[in-house]
Amino acid sequence: MATVSFCDLRKSFGAIEAVKGLDLEVADREFVVLVGPSGCGKSTTLRMLAGLEGISGGEIRIGDTVVNALPPRARDIAMVFQDYALYPHKTVYDNMAFSLRVRGIAKPEIESRIREAATMLDIDKLLERKPAQLSGGQRQRVAMGRAIVRRPKVFLFDEPLSNLDAKLRGQVRAEIKKLHQMIGTTIIYVTHDQVEAMTLADRIVILRGGVIEQVGTPDEVYDTPASLFVGGFVGSPAMNFVRAKRDGEELVLDGGERMAVCDLGPRAERVGQEIVLGIRPEHFVSSGDAPARLTGTVNLVEPLGADTLVHLDVEGATVTARVTPHFRPAVGERLPLGFDPARIHLFDPDSEKAVA
């Protein structure tokens, strides 16, 4: 087990800079998830850590060792690939034993490690099968088993759930979480799915265009997003953004509603002529007793059982509200939605950073 640190890590592919000076410290036994949209540099960062991609600048440390120039086999890491990368001609047992045989580990030790990992992952009945005879979920577990038997310092997961259907994804996600609790090894996990990131991570690293937008616990990135991008990326349905203009001691929201600047509390001092309000769908309340409100035309109602999503058109922008399950407004109805100004997020429209 070990810490991992990235210091001013850079990667360029010709003229394209994929990772632009990434600094990050991962603690021993920590589960860190790198998340972001396609092309944000998350997989490239993971592959640089694995040694599968050279680095253009900076430094990577695993424990106390700088691994910049070390080949993958010398880094003492194990990786679970998006397509599992199981050797199709080898049985499950041989897939798991391969790395141990390469390292010259004695046969009884190999046998015992494989049995232990197979029992842990509930694949002990599949050891004589070949990958083609396994389901997607079973393959995923074998890929994890292959990594576990190595007992590496760091586990790397590169979008390991992408090839699974939604139900299986939830199941395997829980298994990965349990696995980390059992073995306690440092894990660096890459995904583009913010739900995976929120449910698995001790800390989430949100990347955009090769730079870190925010690092924090799932609660931190959800409750105090550092930027418009993070606010919109984390949370499902996404945060609503409403533009507002200052008119003296009031803010005039898109749609014409007004609210008092002083309702924003201490943040009121930092509100300029224009501001973007970030309102989570679940933070809308009944308009009757709310200090502020937003009015729009209902254009879609999605009953989800546990709650209902109402989509409104507010001056051409779509605003989504999560409301009680039996509230069913009619399409075309003008609907006022209340919100508590203390719970909303404020963003500077120019810098896109949060106004704290």
Binding site: A50, L52, R73, F81, D83, A85, Y87, F98, S99, R103
Partner: protein, 312 residues
């Protein structure tokens, strides 16, 4: 008026075509399969089954166009003559030697070429293009080119040997050296075919397997033997079947390089069949020789197919 007639005709035509299609769809699976396969079956009967049967039948006849005698049933006489014929045996062994040497030779060289062609480097397209050249050249053309290369006085091979301070060789004066020259030429010509099939096989192996192996600690050599070679098995089997069958039919290269010489020492089975049927017009004996070659090809094919089935 005329428009109405035209419309009605068109409707009737459509109904007829539609009706035929519907009738086709109403057939049972067996009947539909029969009618769909019939044209191919007839074609195969005409161009493969009938000639093979006719060949086997002719091999039991005494039929020499130079004798002026009518064809007569000779039983197994042609086969008895064949087994007693020293030129048949030398041509048989020459064919076997060429097959045994050039098929593995082309496999090894082809594998090396395919591995190089699969490495990502800037001039890879040029290398891949160059791979196609020997494959695209006609066999007889290769034989003629290499006959010049191995020419004892002004051939490039002896020139290189001379520059390296090695003794030169009169390639086509001895059976052994002539066979070496034929085998080298055949390997050069056929390696690119092997390389193309193996390269296609290499491209189906996912890159992530090599990355996983690298993380697992396997070096390049181990990756080759543990990943590349096992996953190439189907491609290698296909390449071997095709190449072995064509090696058993070797004709053009030895014919253009040595004409079977010195003497008849480098005559192959295919050359001997041609000599008997075309030069000597002995169709009965030539057919018996062709049946022997056919049997040899079938034995090898069945052997390979069994190997593939066992590996599957």
């Amino acid at each position: 008026m005329s428009q109405a007639v035209a419309d009605r005709q068109e409707t009737e035509e459509r109904q007829t075509v539609g009706g035929r299609f519907a009738r086709l769809m109403d057939m049972g699976d067996g009947a539909l399969a029969f009618w769909l396969l019939l044209p191919t079956a007839v074609l195969l009967l005409a161009i493969i089954v009938y000639p093979v049967c006719r060949l086997i039948y002719t091999s039991f006849l005494s039929l020499s166009l130079t004798s002026g005698l009518p064809a007569s049933f000779a039983g197994l006489q042609n086969y008895r003559d064949m087994f007693a014929d020293p030129v048949f045996w030398s041509s048989f062994w020459n064919t076997v030697i060429i097959t045994v040497v050039t098929v593995p030779g082309a496999l090894v060289v082809g594998m090396a070429l395919a591995l190089i062609a699969n490495i990502p480097f800037r001039q890879r397209w040029a290398f891949r293009l160059a791979l196609l050249v020997p494959w695209a050249l006609p066999l007889a053309f290769c034989g003629l080119i290499f006959a010049w290369f191995f020419q004892s006085d002004y051939g490039i091979v002896n020139d290189v040997l001379r520059r390296l301070g090695l003794p030169t060789v009169i390639w086509f004066n001895s059976y052994a050296w002539a066979t070496v020259a034929i085998c080298l030429t055949t390997i050069w010509k056929t390696s690119s075919f092997m390389a193309l099939i193996i390269l296609a096989g290499l491209q189906t192996i996912p890159r992530s397997l090599y990355e996983a192996a690298e993380i697992d600690g396997a070096g390049r050599v181990r990756q080759f033997f543990e990943i590349t070679l096992p996953l190439l098995r189907p491609a290698i089997a296909v390449a071997l079947i095709f190449r072995t069958i064509t090696a058993l039919q070797t004709f053009d290269i030895p014919y253009t390089m040595t004409r079977g010489g010195p003497g008849t020492s480098t005559v192959t089975l295919a050359m001997y069949i041609r000599q008997n049927t075309v030069d000597f017009l002995d169709l009965g004996y030539g057919s018996a020789l062709a049946v022997a070659m056919f049997a040899l090809s079938m034995i090898v094919t069945v052997f390979y197919l069994r190997m593939i089935r066992r590996g599957a």
